[in-house]
Amino acid sequence: MIQHVQTKIDPFTLEIVKDSLIAIGDEMFIALAKTSMSPIIYEVLDYASGLLDSKGQLLTQGNGVTGFIGMLSDMVKQTLKKFGDGQIKPGDIIIINDSYAGGGSHLSDVGLVMPIFYQGELVAFSANKAHWTEVGGKDPGSFSNDATEIFQEGLQFPCVKLFNEGTMNEAIIDIIEANVRFPELSLGDMWAQVAALKTGEKRVIELYEKHGKDTVFSSVEYLLDHGEQLARQELCKLPKGTFEAESFIDDDGFGNGPFKVKVKVTITNDKFIADFRGSHPQVPGPINCSYTALVSAVRAIFLAITNPSQDANDGVFRPLEIITDKGSVLSAERPAPVSIYWESMLAGADLIWKALAPIMPHRLSAGHLLSVCSVVLSGTHPDTKEPFLIVEPSVGGWGAAEGQDGARGQFCIGDGETYNVPVEVAETRYGVLVDEYSLHTDGAGAGEYIGGAGVVRSYRALSDQQMASVTFGRHKFLPWGINRGKDGSANHFYVEKANGEVDGPYGIYARYPLNTGDVVKLVTATGGGYGDPFKRPVEKVAKDARNGYISIKQAKEDFGVLVNPETFAVEGFAKERKQKGE
């Protein structure tokens, strides 16, 4: 049954204005990446930009990663709360990264908000949020896996005006310049953000001039209602009931943990309620996430479940309800450190995923690497003698699903249109040699459909006194298999020193010192499997072995298929597989 949104203005005009709004969002998004100075923005696409209405409802958002899908609204709402309608003036730009008040993630993600006026009336906001390579704080790269208070994690911008009616507040620029390690990068990115906001402002005003206020207002309502309807229709198709899952977050960077987290998901015809009560209280280390961050994670998995391909706006999320205890690891409060907040934020998404995957195999897959697997490597380039800083996430294995093997070497759910840094680019810019960037084919995640392999990326230091901070969650608790598929494997890293000594494996480690010739070997997880491994067709098992995704031994032991190690021909079956009907 199709229900139609009732409108006064002809439906095609609304559709056209709605598409124009989305196109403006896309344009703002591209403009930012093209001019950014930081690989974390232009390669990792760790930023988002969007348009919001005058109340802070999200209309359209361009995303490079999934993690910001709930955050722009909170930035704007905080702006409205602090300045009220009256103090927001045309030409203002507000800067905000406060994790607990409007920011949502960690201090590294700096948000800018610009009000848009048409004929003297506040009609919309353009906003963006981008990961700056540096916002100061105790460690290079700012986010730190052993911070104990937010004050160690960098500069805080508590929703203040960077521009006052078009005039830049020079003092803020000076403060940034004095407090961050690579000011030209951070300020370069800030300018890119400002330019993108102005593009949004210009286009929105053009849209108002062309179609008039009433039409654009109606289109905005239409856009939100349309999103809500699509979401509700999908909701109707889901199995109803209550579904629960529990899981653990490895540790907090100080060896505390593991921390239990849990969810109860209730699906009704018009609600999707995620209740995280009973999860562990906030912890001393920086893995805490704020409620806003959790909302983003839940929204991401909600979209995966309902309709991953739609344009997301606040209408889509109207059926969603999220409940937490106060001050839990998933809803932390000031001044808990939150540098590596994604570990708990993604654990939140993973819980819902895990609770629902067995009953929604057409939309969800088995567990995946889960962690952003971030690597921060700093040092001096041996040729230019200039300091360098690598800040990057890592790719790893995804879970298998009904009808498909898990993807190999992909960024986690928290990332998205994120690109790894090419080896040739890394070796030119940074003082490292990459010994290896290959699939880590440990053969974990056996199943009728197999989990995707993670990777090995090895950095060899080419100068002394380099420092690696590695944040690999899912180091102790494995990506889960479903419907009799086996679990995947863990994220971990080793250091192979120039003198032959090997140290590791580790998951989270702050500032591991490296000298010339030392190699840090970063290994990411294999995803969970789906279904009974004995049901995997024989030809596929033989081909997996030929391709080296599994060993001959695993072919026999996990899949019950005897494969000739030279020719990769199938030579027979193990007893267990035969008993199961081969």
């Binding site: 229900q3 002809d10 439906p11 030209e184 995923w353 998205g416 990459v434 030929r546 391709n547």
Partner: protein, 681 residues
Amino acid sequence: MRVATDIGGTFTDLVYVNDKGEIGVAKSHTTPPYFEQGVMDVIEKSRIDQAAIETFIHGTTVIINALTERKGVKTGLITTKGFRDTLEIARGNRPDLFNVRYQKPVPFVDRYLRREVEERLNYKGEVLTPLNKEQLKEVIFYLKKEKVEAIAVAYLHSYVNPVHEIETVELINELWPEVAVTASYEVTKEWREYERTSTTVLNSYVKPIAASYVNRLHTKLLENKTDSQNYIMQSNGGTTTFHSAKQTPINMVESGPVAGIYGAAVLGEIIGEENIIAFDIGGTTAKCSLINQGKVKVSTDYFIEKTERNAGYPIKVPVVDIVEIGNGGGSIAWIDGAGSLKVGPQSAGALPGPVAYGQGGTEPTTTDANLLTGRLSPENFDYEVDLEKVRTSIKEKVADCFGLSVEEAALGIIRIANSNMLNALKLISIRKGHNPREFSLLAFGGGGSMHAPALAKELGVKKVIVPVASSVFSAWGMLMTDLRHDYIQTYIRRLNQLDLPELNKEWCSLETQAFKQFKEEGMEKGKVLFTRFADIRYLGQEHTVKVPVQNGEWTEETVSEVIKRFGDLHEQHYTFKLEGTPAEIVNLHLTAFGKVVKPTMKKLESGSSHAEDALKQTRPVYYEEHGWMDTNVYDRLLLGKDARISGPAIIEESSASTVLYPSQTLSVDEYGNIIIDTGVE
């Protein structure tokens, strides 16, 4: 005589121009898998004297078909030790952000056919580990045993120094001369190992297919006593010889579509329009490209199968910048789950086609909407049109859902289709910092002239040009091409720290390469022209701006000029420049043209300058702001130089119609092109 043949999905087109400048066209069916047969058929159908063909230019979809249908050969890949999975890991990106069942593009080479050898260069191109030839031999024997038909070789940092790739190819040629080989440095000299490896693999994958196709075509031509100079259209908007095409067939990936864009630039030069938005609407897609000051923009940011939901496969060869969207005459109108009208990207194709074709199509398309609103007449179709069936389809599938009349619904379909196309047109113009008022819209393809006048008005373009024979304009463009090769070399240097003698040497070496290639193709040095570009960015940025730079020796003044020009272009594209920040070159880009003698365009001799002499009929046409209006319909063939028409009006020609809106006017120029004044101030 110059003859161009262009193989399309359904038809193979031919356009020729004889020594008097007279143009002729022919069409016949495309004949997969032996496409050369269709070429022979269309030559025969055109009844030209085959022995009189002096220049034969060919556009083909053979390469793109082999890629998208996975009809290439079994291919092996040899990489640096530790990097055989580069092809599979790719970039790790997931464009379909929220889809946790996202499936990564499958590599074109299975893992067991990706083999590693010991060898290593650093980023400066210095050898850290020499090539292990014993290991390489084993790899070659292994791939031979596995019966691959082509091998790709891609080593790290070979864009700086290809020494190990060269040695590898030599050894393969020595041990196994029959196998097709491509080394990465032969197809691209840009950094980023995944993109370079992907390009190399795809070239190898289609190389035997291309060789066999070009050879068969050549044999056929010779059998028919056609002893012509033969060229193949490349994606960069220029041609190359049959011989070169067989070496790097990946350069033919967009062989057909770019010809129209290039043709637009050529026509622009003839009629004095140097700023053009070329706009081509076909059956399933609309394509557009911006030509600024006579220059067609070429870049290496090309992918196949890349969509909003799929990462696709990068191909780092020069391709004319085209934005293509799934909106053409056959695009289907449909209503989404929450009641929004959408048009495309699903297309009814040639079969069953729009409802109007009466070939079994039941879903309303843009063409059907154009028919119901009077923009097209039933007589425009090759088929018997059942108007009632078209009405019913639009009524049931669209109008009833909104409680609107059939006309309103049909107009809605046109408006949504226009809105999609408008977004594509904005993407290449306004959003790149260009003011549409300074551009003319050149419309071609079967649907170009029907939608262009309305779109131009929306976009703010003052003038629309509908060229002669607009529906086969792409093939005409092919007739007007020069030979062209692009040489792109990654060369990362800060502009304030340039070693000028070294840079001049680098440019010189690119030019030497070009002269050498043209010489092999029989082009004399005097006819070779160069244009240079540098891809530049601010230090720290990733994305570059392509900056036209001067030919000849660079001096300190040149550098200052280049820095200034870069800053201006950056500001134009992205609204700001960073005065204090150093700029950095990433790539040197040399474009080399081998100029050929081209036919002159013939002036219009027939037709009447009084439009009323061309009046065919008057019929009602439904317009956005005016509703139904009685509209004069003219026969384009009868319109002569200086004929003038005021809208509303329809001008019909074979396989295309121009829709002139109320308050728009048009005139016919001396060549027969229709020039529309869109009414934009």
